[in-house]
Amino acid sequence: MATQKQVKTGSEQSSDLEEKLQKLRDLYADASEIGKTALENVIRALKSGAPAKEPTARIESAGRIGRRQGKVSELTVIVPLAPGGAKRLRGFLEALHGSIGNELVDRVGTVHDMRFVFLEKDTKLLFCTAYDGDWDAYIEDFATKIPDILDLQFGDTEGYPGIRSPEIKDFIVSHQITADFWYVANPNLTVVETRRLQRIGNALEEFLDKIN
């Protein structure tokens, strides 16, 4: 196996683990009894289980801000809304992703998911997404290809300069918060690649159906 040489010897791995577990125990010294008991249970399970595998993709930076794992990056934004903004945005999102459909977003081809959550009595917006590539690779493309969709999605946030503005990237950065931890099941699968594999899978099943 290609990763064989990176795997540490058994004794190195166990002393690493002991050190990490001791740190965790120190952290949980002040935790509730529920937390302490749970930690000990987890530690016992870890020790009796199979040795840890190397992660398939390391966590790195998505560029200017945010995290990236393999080919996928994360973006979390919390931004104040203009008065009445939440009402308008709810209406627009319902129309866009409900009755109008997701074709427009599907066309982007780099967005795994998007989440809009209204916070603090509709005064703030929490926006989260997982997407392919670096932080700013396609922002300019949004500005020329689907500017109105972006301006409707974020036009009611305070201080929003417009997707075409040269200030747009600084605006996003000023409200973006990098995740402390983030799990990605398939860090090496882009949206495009996932769709391709789906097509291949379907074609293969169809072929197998036909030959017997």
Binding site: Y138, D141, P166, R196
Partner: protein, 460 residues
């Protein structure tokens, strides 16, 4: 007329961009044949640097008659350390984009310049911060080039304000072919307001602001511009990349995957999307057509409408990656905002089809690429990340550009075919990066402003 592509026509519409203030190289295509030199200079002190620019400024050609490349011309560009050395005020320095200020070497991660392309392997003086000014001299005859070089020499020789770090001659290649034996620089973007109708196949002209500072870009608004206005307006940026061509590896790859000369030449065409002559596989799918390759009115006149699967021009070939035209990509992309003006200058020994040794890979020969755009740093990073060192946008997974990509061991190249695609494994990095710089190409008025900075300071 030395370059047929420009047809020597007078402008049909009044130019909307200020051609008189823009440097000629931004608009003017490289002549064929071509002869020239790149000079890389270090400024010793602010006063000397200013004086050098003051003497040089009257010799820098404007783009006012860019379609005429009969006379040799000189271009000048300045790095961020160069602007610092010239004594540009701090608030003005801070108005330049971050990628430009830190320089190309410091952006290696964003540019995916890893491994053999890592700046630590670059040739000096690239990436060292020593390069302050790049002066380029370009001509259509050897005699005029030498004469202009002599004029230039008189300017810097015995002048203590600047030191010449490197002089790199280029051009003078048989048939103007590049270091891998292809005709290049076909298919430049057409710029709106440049005064001449686009060539067939160039597509709709792209907004001038994508290439020159101070004009609206494709999104309708001008890009952020360095301040003061006189410094930024009508200027642009240059991303310089020095490539060493590994001709031995390239020829070994062709021989290893083609039995006959015909098969090898077809493979060579599949890698680029064009035959060596410049003829596109769209128009000449089975064999080279030298007449077509020559003809600037025909060699770029095509779309991919009849070739969506890439059976003629592979989806992953160099030409289709660098300009997907009407290809339906699975990722929402505006092709117009990722185009860049390319000024390719080949240096060193001509391409040798019989060079197959590893020693041949190290023969000094390759290309100094000048990528010109009002957002050159941004565009280069996008191209390196998305269109060169990835295949996602063309449904090709991890596959990379066969000509300028940085290949990993066993890397594939896919040639679409009926009934099933042919995939070659073990493509290598044929062009290795050996240097790079980000430079600012000022307008003629900005050049005078820069030259006057220190004179004013002394007066005060």
């Amino acid at each position: 007329m030395s370059f047929e592509g420009q047809r020597g026509e007078e402008p049909r519409h009044g130019p909307a961009v200020d051609l008189h203030d823009i440097q000629a190289t931004v608009m003017r295509h490289r002549p064929e044949p071509y002869f020239g030199s790149h000079l890389f200079l270090h400024i010793n002190d602010a006063h000397g640097g200013g004086e050098f620019l003051r003497r040089l400024a009257p010799h820098i050609s404007s783009a006012s008659d860019w379609w005429n490349s009969k006379d040799p011309w000189i271009a000048v560009a300045i790095s961020y350390p160069g602007l610092v050395a010239l004594g540009v005020p701090e608030d003005s320095l801070q108005s330049f984009p971050e990628a430009f200020r830190v320089g190309m070497a410091a952006r290696a991660e964003k540019l995916r310049d890893y491994g053999v392309n890592d700046p630590k392997n670059w040739d000096l003086p690239f990436g060292s911060g020593q390069i302050h000014i790049q002066v380029s001299i370009i001509s259509d005859t050897e005699e005029k080039w030498r004469r202009t070089m002599e004029t230039a020499r008189q300017h810097y020789q015995g002048f203590s304000g600047v030191t010449v770090l490197l002089i790199q001659d280029f051009g003078a290649q048989p048939d103007s072919r590049n270091s891998l034996g292809y005709k290049d620089s076909i298919g430049q973007p057409a710029i709106e307001g440049s005064g001449i109708d686009p060539l067939p196949g160039q597509g709709q002209p792209i907004k001038a602001g994508e290439f020159i500072l101070g004009y609206p870009g494709e999104s309708g608004v001008p890009l952020a511009m360095p301040q003061p206005d006189v410094l930024g307006r009508n200027g642009t940026y240059v991303g310089l990349r020095k490539y060493q061509s590994r001709v031995g590896a390239f020829n070994r790859f062709l021989r290893g995957n083609g039995q006959t000369d015909e098969e090898r030449e077809l493979l060579a065409a599949k890698l680029v999307g064009r035959w060596r002559s410049g003829a596109s596989l769209t128009l000449a799918p089975t064999k080279d057509d030298a007449m077509l390759g020559e003809d600037a009115l025909r060699n770029n006149d095509f779309t991919y409408a009849s070739d969506p699967q890439g059976r003629r021009v592979p989806l992953g070939c160099h030409m289709r990656r660098m300009n997907p035209r009407d290809t339906k990509t699975p990722v929402l992309t505006d092709v117009n905002i990722h185009r860049i003006i390319r000024r390719s200058t080949t240096y060193g020994a001509p391409y040798d089809p019989n060079a197959i040794s590893e020693q041949d890979d190290e023969d000094a020969r390759g290309i100094y690429f000048l990528f010109i755009s009002a957002k050159a740093m941004n565009t280069l990073e996008f191209l390196q990340q998305e269109w060169i060192n990835d295949g996602n946008f063309m449904n090709l997974g991890n596959e990379r550009d066969p000509i300028v990509g940085l290949q990993e061991e066993g890397a594939p190249f896919t040639i679409p075919k009926e009934p099933v695609r042919h995939r070659i494994h073990g493509i290598e990095t044929f062009n290795v990066l050996r240097g790079g710089e980000y430079l600012f190409m000022p307008s003629l008025s900005a050049l005078n402003w820069l030259a006057g900075l220190n004179a004013e300071a002394v007066k005060r």
